[in-house]
Amino acid sequence: MARAGKSFRRGWASGVAAVGLLLLAGCGGIPAGALQLPPESPANRQRQTRTFDGITEPALLAASAAVLQDLGFVLDESETGLGVIVASKRRSARNAGEIAGKVLLGLLALQGPQPWAEAQNIRVSIVTRPAGGEFPGRVLLRATFQRVVYDSAQRIILRQQLNDDELYTAFFARLAQGVFLEARPL
């Protein structure tokens, strides 16, 4: 009996220690290199940037805002003086296959349905700058997208920058149509 009590206390203390240490780990620090230029930085810049000739910065920003509105984004911030527009939209992140899998897994484990990806916040910032120098009529535009995905219990399950080639190619094609100009790579 005394042995069972001792074993229970040991188990309880170990459990509390594990939970406490896990919670403390949530207060952990920034990963090394988080603010270092990554090796893929030039490739990302190339993917996310296009140059436009024969247009002013404000006109290109206005066209970008119009394209974002066409895509269902809501404008959050703008600072024309620095060539910045920020927009976002919240959309479903549901995937029928994933939901079916999570429900099945829950049933098999006798735990009820497990949380699945439910919604996502997508944000984009558009930044323009004049090329200047020998190219007075040229404007560079860089777009960067990111998203936060929430599960069906409203917990964050994914935070990522979007670096898909197709996304940027499609976005710049829409923008080029909007300004009737060619969007050229860097």
Partner: protein, 141 residues
């Protein structure tokens, strides 16, 4: 073994209140060594004007994987968020400091709850900003 587990449990529980505290003390909590931290977070650049430095700051944040949240040319501030499994939010302010000089101050927080006080991330940021300012001096493509 039992005693070790109990000590660990005690330490862990004693540490938990540090993560759950009232608002007032946290509003005025600037972390340890405020003057030293300000020095780590600040850098003066010569041969730079505020607008060019702000634009270089925005470009640097984008190079580092940030999406810009806000920018204000009059206040000289830019904020951005980086998402890479974790979240880093950063505000950078640019202030004129005499002719041809600007003071850049950056502060950042990690995963929404923790101020970044380690000098290394700020050194990395300023190294990247310096590179961007230098690149912007080169002829455009």
């Amino acid at each position: 073994m039992n005693r070790t587990a109990m000590v660990l449990a005690g330490c862990a529980l004693a540490g938990l209140p540090g993560c759950v505290s009232g608002p007032n003390e946290k509003i005025f909590d600037a972390g340890s060594g405020q003057a030293q931290l300000r020095s780590v977070q600040s850098r003066t650049f010569a041969r730079a004007d505020p607008e060019r430095t702000l634009r270089a700051t925005i470009a640097t944040l984008q190079d580092l994987g940030f999406v810009i949240d806000k920018a204000d040319a009059v206040l000289g501030t830019v904020s951005g968020t980086k998402l890479a499994g974790y979240e880093v939010r950063m505000t950078v302010s640019v202030l004129p400091r005499g002719p041809g000089q600007v003071l850049v101050r950056a502060n950042a927080q990690f995963n929404g709850i923790k101020a970044i006080e380690d000098p290394k991330p700020y050194q990395d940021f300023f190294a990247a900003l310096e590179k961007s300012l230098f690149l912007n001096e080169q002829p455009a493509p």
